[in-house]
């Protein structure tokens, strides 16, 4: 039987097969948790006197409600409010009580859950991974089957290390050729979502493959898989290869020594067999992709930066954004720029932003916030001097966390403000009530910060040299 990558991982985790009457019971190798979607599940455990079945396979970090400012002189963190503080404290209490490894504030390993899992080598090919967070799809970049669950299923995973699942359908997305210079993984995934639609992959697990994907580094592959959920997919996957193995080798939780070799042998079997069929197959021509930006209130409302807002754009979305059909996005005034989130807060994203910001200034009147995905990313960036590039440009260099991606920690944009953001959701009010989000790549965000308006990062760099001189 020819099998897809998804089918190989799925089948190797079936505890009981599905029937007409009951879903399959799927074993979960790794359970990642954070402070927002776990407390109610812990409450149930406590009420019923249950234990966590596999605390050794459960890892916790704090990221959504955490401040991105440094602790004060007494080492106290300045939370946005009591609720945020108590949510974070609750996670600590829960992890202590149930014996779960926690990367807490102050720990070098703390950061956004989808940055931390891969970085620690917890995320591995062939694993099943769940988290009470829709962007768990990120981890599929390693050839894992990784998906977001709700708090009930967080509880199920605590109690049984399994969840009930019907087998999803498969969608293959083949990217032919390679991306042009100055076009990033973020532009590609925005173009894919614009093409298939925000509900286009509902009920499916996507596998991305083809030349452009093979050439990508792991950070870029994670950006792609991260946004699979924005097309409605259960998960996104990419077959592991040498790039994957090189990334994982030597990471704290990655296998070592003899076991490492055995792991690589096993992981090398994780690919879609020649002749295996997807329920749906889509092809994308990479050379046709241009730098993208969103104009509306969900991620499918994306266009090349240089084109105009389509005539058929939903009116309620344009009304919220304050835009008109047939208008150009270029030159739109920008109030805030956010570079961060589990989509684009890794070291290569920061390098991309720094390359644009080097020896330039953020436009007066623009607030630019740069938030690394984890402490390790932050430290790496600082060792390369990127922090100084950002600070010299007049941007804020912050402590790691989700920050302005969803504004739970108080990092928000104000009503009516326009923010070019490297995050993944431009939903109404996502970055703060009344705020308006334009999703884009780190290069576009950085260039727009300097210009004070939406610009194409490629043509912009030439312009600015002239302006600054």
């Amino acid at each position: 039987m020819k099998k897809t990558l998804f089918e190989k991982v799925w089948e190797s985790h079936i505890v009981s097969p599905e029937s007409i009457d009951t879903p399959a019971v799927l074993y979960i190798d790794t359970h990642l948790i954070h402070e927002v979607t776990s407390p109610q599940a812990f409450n149930v455990l406590r009420e019923k006197g249950f234990k966590v079945r596999r605390p050794d396979r459960t890892f916790a970090t704090m990221d959504h409600s955490t401040p991105t400012t440094k602790p004060n002189a007494d080492g106290e963190y300045q939370f946005n409010g009591e609720k945020e503080k108590s949510q974070v404290e609750q996670l600590k209490t829960n992890c202590n009580e149930f014996g779960i490894t926690l990367f807490e504030l102050g720990d070098d390993r703390q950061g956004i859950v989808h940055v931390v899992g891969p970085e620690q080598g917890i995320t591995q090919p062939g694993k099943t991974i769940v988290c009470g967070d829709s962007h768990t799809s990120t981890h599929g970049a390693f050839g894992a089957l990784a998906f977001g669950i709700g708090t009930s299923e967080v509880g199920y995973t605590f109690a049984t290390q399994c969840i009930p699942q019907r087998k999803p359908k498969t969608m293959g997305i083949k990217i032919n050729g390679h991306l042009s210079a100055g076009v990033s993984a973020k532009d590609l995934i925005l173009a894919i979502i614009a093409k298939i639609g925000i509900g286009g992959a509902t009920g499916h697990v996507i596998e991305y493959f083809g030349e452009a994907i093979s050439r990508m580094n792991m950070d870029e592959r994670m950006t792609i898989c991260n946004m699979s959920i924005e097309a409605g997919a259960r998960a996104g996957m990419i077959a592991p290869d040498k790039t994957t193995f090189d990334y994982l080798e030597g990471r704290p939780y990655a296998p070592k020594g003899k076991v490492w070799q055995q792991a690589i042998d096993d992981w090398s079997q994780l690919y879609t067999d020649q002749g295996a069929e997807f329920d749906t197959l889509i092809e994308i021509e990479a050379p046709e992709i241009k730098p993208m930006i969103t104009f509306g209130t969900n991620p499918e409302m994306a266009i090349p930066i240089t084109s105009i807002i389509p005539e058929r754009a939903p009116r309620h979305a344009l009304a919220y954004m304050g835009f008109e059909p047939n208008e150009s996005m270029m030159e739109k005034k920008v109030d805030v720029v956010f570079i961060g989130s589990c989509t684009n807060s890794r070291i290569t994203d920061l390098r991309e932003a720094a390359a644009v910001l080097k020896n330039k200034k953020v436009s007066p009147g623009v607030r630019a916030l740069i938030v690394p995905g984890s402490h390790l990313v932050k430290r790496q960036a600082e060792s390369e001097g990127l922090d100084q590039v950002f600070i010299d440009a007049g941007a804020e260099w912050r402590e790691p966390g989700c920050s302005m991606c969803l504004g739970m920690n108080g990092d928000i944009i104000l009503p009516g403000q326009i923010c070019v953001s490297t995050s993944n959701r431009n939903f109404e009010g996502r970055q703060g009530p009344g705020g308006r989000t334009l999703l884009a790549s780190p290069a576009t965000a950085a260039a727009s910060a300097v210009a004070g308006k939406v610009v194409d990062p490629n043509t912009f760099s030439k312009q600015v040299v002239g302006e600054v001189a």
Binding site: S16, T22, F50, R53, R54, T151, Y156, T202, A254
Partner: protein, 209 residues
């Protein structure tokens, strides 16, 4: 690592066989869970009081809880639909964030059934587990139901029908979800019944760490 567990089957909920009530229609596509319940209201460690904040971006004017005023035009604020038990929404309902606070907020408000032409996977999963029934209907039925604002609708889970005063349609529901609704079974009980298989699975598995 010991895998013995004292976890036992102790869950049950009220069986739900039928839901009858007024329908509220929000004819907007791609309603995301950030709209159903904004992040501001996820800072809790329990499930209490979320109904008050359901659709708060649309239900209230003002950008914070302290200065907000009721938007009298929003469907869930209107006298004839504020007691709605059935929500009919545009295509691709519940996309985005996995927050289970979305079904919690709908249920706390009094909504027991959501209907659309497609419903996002995680939201659908989360709904079922809390006794909120997600119903997916075809295009024609959807168009018709979108005209039923403030009308009485009844849903029979056993017969898998959704009916107005004029019409009745059959709908499909995943058989296990239906069983759980009709019998008041929590899905966790089903997983607990697999304890032995889980232990056997773990024993034969190769794990790299």
């Amino acid at each position: 690592m010991s895998t013995t567990n004292q976890n036992k089957q102790t869950f049950s909920r009220e069986p739900i066989k039928q839901v009858e009530g007024v329908a509220a229609v929000i004819d907007i596509e791609n309603i995301d869970t950030d709209q159903i319940i904004p992040a501001e209201y996820l800072k809790i460690t329990n499930k209490d009081g979320l109904g008050e904040h359901l659709f708060s971006n649309w239900r209230y004017f003002g950008n914070s809880e302290s200065d907000r005023q009721v938007n009298p035009e929003f469907v869930l604020n209107k006298p004839e639909t504020k007691t709605a038990r059935i929500l009919v929404a545009g295509d691709n309902l519940g996309c985005g964030s996995s927050r289970e606070h979305a079904p919690w907020a709908l249920l706390d408000f009094g909504i027991q059934v959501v209907v659309s032409s497609s419903i996002a996977d995680i939201f659908k999963n989360n709904s079922v587990k809390n006794g909120l029934l997600p119903i997916v209907v075809n295009e024609d039925e959807h168009q018709y139901l979108l005209t039923q604002n403030a009308k009485q609708i009844s849903v029979d889970i056993e017969k898998q029908t959704i009916s107005t005063a004029e019409k009745s349609f059959e709908f499909q529901i995943e058989p296990f979800a239906r069983f759980c609704f009709l019998n008041g079974m929590d899905q966790l009980d089903f997983l607990f019944s697999q304890e032995q298989q889980i232990t056997e699975f773990e024993a034969q598995q190769t794990v790299y760490a």
